[in-house]
């Protein structure tokens, strides 16, 4: 039982160190690429497992007649049709066109519509922000967003207002860029320490007790 927990940890740590060594020492370069290629292949298989999980969850919803089960029926039918089209498209160019058309006519417009919904969602969220978190940072956030918007969009009858455009450029290049760099430095440091915790075996996303 103990071996069951130790074995994946040893494998993960060993391969983690080998990949790290591949980055730094040219001697391990080929081996590092080989491991990464294996990881990419495994990720491909993981998609199959993930899609099976999606099927199981939604067929369960249909079986138990849960709320929104009709959407699960649509999802499963669409998934199977797309999967079959994808398989046949490999051998027939006409079906390949149909497969691409299905993506361009259904998936793309739906995702674009969601993007449009997002505009309304964010506008509403910005108004709510002032009600729920009324502090200096929220005011700065909203004023900056407003100035960037008015500096980007052309004004009716006036067109481009040079002062507003210059202000937008200044905000984007000086304070926003400085803040973004600070945040990205923090994210970089967090990424480094998270990687080290996994290399030490303290974080084990593959099971086992955390340290």
């Amino acid at each position: 039982m103990k071996f069951k927990g130790v074995f994946p940890t040893v494998i993960a740590i060993a391969f983690g160190f080998l990949v790290l060594a591949g980055y730094i020492f040219p001697l391990f370069g080929q081996f590092y690429l080989f491991i990464l290629n294996i990881a990419v292949i495994l990720t491909g298989f993981a998609v199959l497992v993930g899609v099976s999980n999606l099927l199981i969850v939604h067929s369960g919803k249909i079986r138990h007649k849960q709320k929104g089960a009709i959407y699960s029926v649509i999802l499963i039918i669409s998934l199977l049709v797309t999967f079959l089209l994808g398989l046949v498209a490999h051998f027939s160019t006409s079906v390949s066109g149909l497969f691409n058309e299905a993506f361009l006519s259904i998936q793309l417009p739906i995702e674009t519509s969601l993007m449009a919904v997002l505009v309304v969602t964010l506008t509403y969220a910005s108004i709510r922000l002032l009600r729920q978190r009324r502090n200096l940072l929220s005011v700065i956030f909203l004023v900056t967003a407003f100035l960037i918007m008015v500096g980007t969009a052309p004004w009716p009858f006036l067109g481009d207002v040079p002062v507003l455009s210059a202000l937008r450029v200044w905000i984007a290049q000086i304070p926003a860029s400085a803040g973004a760099r600070g945040i990205l430095l923090g994210v970089g440091l967090g990424t480094l320490t998270t990687g080290l915790r996994i290399l030490f075996g303290a974080d084990r996303p593959y099971g086992g007790k955390h340290g």
């Binding site: 999606l54 199981i56 969850v57 959407y71 739906i110 915790r197 099971g207 955390h210």
Partner: protein, 256 residues
């Protein structure tokens, strides 16, 4: 020695230094835990977890879509650590947590994390459908996760990982259901939209501090201290660089 080789060597030295510091601090932290600044979002998360257990409701952790073979995997790993800790904290509740992801490998890891957490709990109940892949594109992932927030008796949502603008749709769905939402991402755009739309947004490196603030172990507290030490070193390097640049300017002006 070329500049590229010099940078690689510098990177190696920083990694070695950070690893040694983290190992040393983790050993020390076992005896005396450090005190960190208060982050209200984590205190409220603890209260929300308490309500999940008391009310018999469910916790939802959304792990984003950070693929494991990319640089964004670190935020996903942080999300998994938090999922593990939260699953342990809610193990006394009636319903196990549910985790949604937009990456297949991440969904498999979330299932494994939930299974390990359930084995450690007294009830030992594991539901294989609790770790779910909800979609493979950003918006299909959000569209698949929204019904989970809305229909599965969720009272607390944690969005932690790599998201894009679609995170606003998740935060909005949580807000409409009047549920608690803590949200963090390594992506700058997502951080901006989450700042506006989530109840408790985390900014920048606060995403990686979740483990330390939820007592996930001494290595987590040590890694937070290592981040602080490295940040101070970067600040010193930036100030020294600016000072040297100024000195060079003054010297060249003096020579003219």
């Amino acid at each position: 020695m070329t500049n590229a080789t010099l940078l690689e060597l510098l990177g190696f030295v920083i990694i070695l230094f950070s690893a040694a510091l983290m190992a040393g601090l983790a050993a020390l932290r076992r005896k005396s835990p450090p005190a960190f600044r208060e982050i209200p979002a984590f205190s409220r998360l603890r209260q929300a977890i308490g309500r999940v257990v008391e009310n018999g409701t469910r916790l939802h952790v959304s792990l984003g879509r950070g693929a494991l073979v990319t640089a964004q995997s670190a935020s996903a790993m942080s999300g998994l650590t938090l999922l593990r800790r939260l699953a342990e904290l809610t193990s006394a509740g009636d319903q196990p947590p549910v985790a949604t992801s937009g990456d297949a490998a991440l969904a498999i890891l979330s299932q494994d994390t939930l299974q390990t957490a359930s084995q450690a709990s007294a009830q030992g109940v594991y539901d294989p459908t609790a770790g779910r892949l909800t979609g493979l594109t950003p918006f299909s992932y959000a569209a698949g996760a929204i019904p989970v927030i809305r229909d599965e008796n969720i009272s607390t949502n944690v969005l932690m990982g790599n998201f894009g603008v679609e995170a606003a749709l998740l935060a909005e769905a949580a807000e409409r259901d009047n549920t608690f939402t803590l949200a963090a991402s390594d992506n700058l755009t997502a951080q901006a939209v989450l700042y506006a739309s989530a109840q408790e947004p985390l900014i920048g490196e606060e995403l990686y501090a979740a483990g330390a603030y939820l007592d996930a172990g001494p290595t987590h507290t040590a890694s937070l201290t290592v981040q602080d030490v490295l940040r101070w070193l970067i600040i010193i390097a930036i100030l020294a660089g600016a000072l040297l640049q100024l000195v060079q300017l003054l010297l060249s002006a003096g020579a003219q």
